[in-house]
């Protein structure tokens, strides 16, 4: 067996909403996912108001060198999944995924992953009719896969208790985010939804002969992370990164497209590196042009809140 450094043992801990604390135990041989990963449900605040939309986070603590999976294109693995148990009056929206990292394994195997302490955002709405003083237990069964040189499946319950406080004012519902918290850090890695070409300075999109071309004037490097809603690419491994201003993405022929899309569609995250730094954009591009990406409203709201948050 391969010795693995920095094993993390399951820790029962009282964790402040802002920051998770993990105990690092004695090195051992990893035999199940809990040896090298832990999952927890966290909240931006455990006091909520009737009618409020707030963010929970499905938070992972991963031992060094281990990763979990994004919900977009991966050759292997699968993203964390949650089966929620919710009290009446609480609604959970689709999870919002921060930008992952490309991860290439020998043999031309491409995945998009998270390492370290990733948090996947969970938008939650508290019904306005829930009275002050109510305690809300939000929970779920999580299944995930954690890998380094080997893979281990993890599953188990997560939960968090929220207390309903007084009725929200508009100002409360638009509260800023703590940038140093796991939820704040995840929010800072959300891509900007692109509704129009002008949203991305210098962007040009073109389809021709089954090749989608993305050009960004002034870019030093580009990368595309195909999302779950994208048509298959011939080779995301070869095509989806470029040094310079142009990415040419070959789309798989319809009979080779395993994404079961009725139409050609390029959906995913575009990374642009230029003199101003690194930026991420969420694109949904069909042959008929750009569409408003799914989750645009949720992501924009979180990004706006972060924008207004003190550094």
């Amino acid at each position: 067996m391969i010795p693995r450094p920095m094993m993390i043992r399951s820790a029962m801990g009282v964790v402040a909403p802002a920051a998770a604390v993990l105990s690092v135990g004695t090195p051992a041989i990893a035999q199940d996912a809990q040896d090298v990963s832990e999952a927890a449900l966290i909240a931006e605040s455990t006091i909520v108001q009737p009618g409020q939309q707030l963010l929970l986070g499905l938070h992972f603590e991963l031992a060094e060198g281990w990763h979990i999976y994004w919900d977009g294109f991966n050759d292997t693995g699968f993203p964390p999944m949650v089966e929620w148990s919710l009290p009446d009056g609480v609604r959970v929206g689709p999870m919002v995924w921060p930008v992952p990292e490309r991860y290439i394994s020998p043999g031309g195997i491409l995945d998009h992953v998270y390492e370290g302490r990733p948090t996947i955002l969970v938008p939650v709405t508290i019904d306005a009719s829930i009275p002050e003083g109510t305690s809300l237990q939000i929970g779920g069964e999580v299944e995930w896969l954690v890998c380094n040189d080997v893979c281990l499946p993890g599953f188990g319950p997560v939960s968090i208790e929220l207390s309903v406080g007084p009725q929200a004012t508009d100002a409360d519902s638009e509260a800023t985010l703590d940038r140093s918290s796991p939820i704040g850090r995840a929010a800072a890695r959300l891509p900007q939804p692109v509704k129009a070409v002008d949203d991305v300075p210098g962007l040009h999109l073109q389809w021709s002969n089954d090749v989608a071309t993305i050009r960004v004037d002034g870019a030093k490097a580009l990368a595309f992370y195909p999302g779950a809603g994208s048509s298959s690419l011939v080779s995301a491994l070869e095509d989806a990164t470029a040094d310079g201003e142009v990415l040419s993405l070959r789309l798989a022929s319809p009979e080779m497209d395993l994404s079961t899309r009725a139409e050609r569609r390029l959906q995913g995250v575009l990374k642009v590196v230029n003199d101003r730094g690194e930026r991420w954009y969420l694109l949904d591009h069909g042959k008929d042009g750009l569409r408003t990406p799914e989750q645009t409203e949720t992501i924009s709201r979180v990004r706006d809140r972060l924008e207004r948050s003190p550094s």
Binding site: L41, T76, E83, P153, S235
Partner: protein, 220 residues
Amino acid sequence: MTWLKRNGIAILSTIAAMTAATTVSVALAGQNGTGQAQQGVTAGEMAPMFKLKDTNGKEHSLKDVLAKESTKAVVIEWFNPDCPFVVKHHGNNTTMKDLAKKYADQGVVWMAINSGHKGHSTTGVERNKSAIEGWKIAYPVLLDMSGDVGRQYGAKRTPEMYVVSKDGTIVYHGAIDNDRSARNLGDINYVDEALRAHLAGETIQTQRTQAYGCTVKYQN
């Protein structure tokens, strides 16, 4: 906040349904684009011929197996005894063993290939022999420690399945079933359906799917 506990989780059919519905796009091995490098083979293409030794040192040649009069089709299963998705189908369930048995007397030859590199904990005669014994696998596990055969096929995951017809054409390539999780079985077994249709002389409806699983542990 509650940290995860490891035991006592019921398998929920809803999770199975959710998992089955997960759609992920794929960069397809074997895609024949214009002027593009081959990245392996897929359904509709010829299976690369190979000779590999099993855990008892016996050599198996795909060409020879196909040439046998009794052979009607060959199933190749990429294998790693310590991959949770392989464990799902060999340890927690007996998907592979049962299917191999179901079609054995209809001329279907089943073989597993482990393309993990020499230094990996999941490769080698000893580890794979113990898996064969532990799981009572009745077919050979071939060792491809150079990864040459795996790379020729473009196999990326364990398990990744190829069904090869008598004439050497790949007639199915992809997942064993339609549940990508490490726990639950899908409600469609693609290899079962491919074999049934192929042996009956019918067209296989689903010839390519995205395989799911662990990475094949190739040498750098």
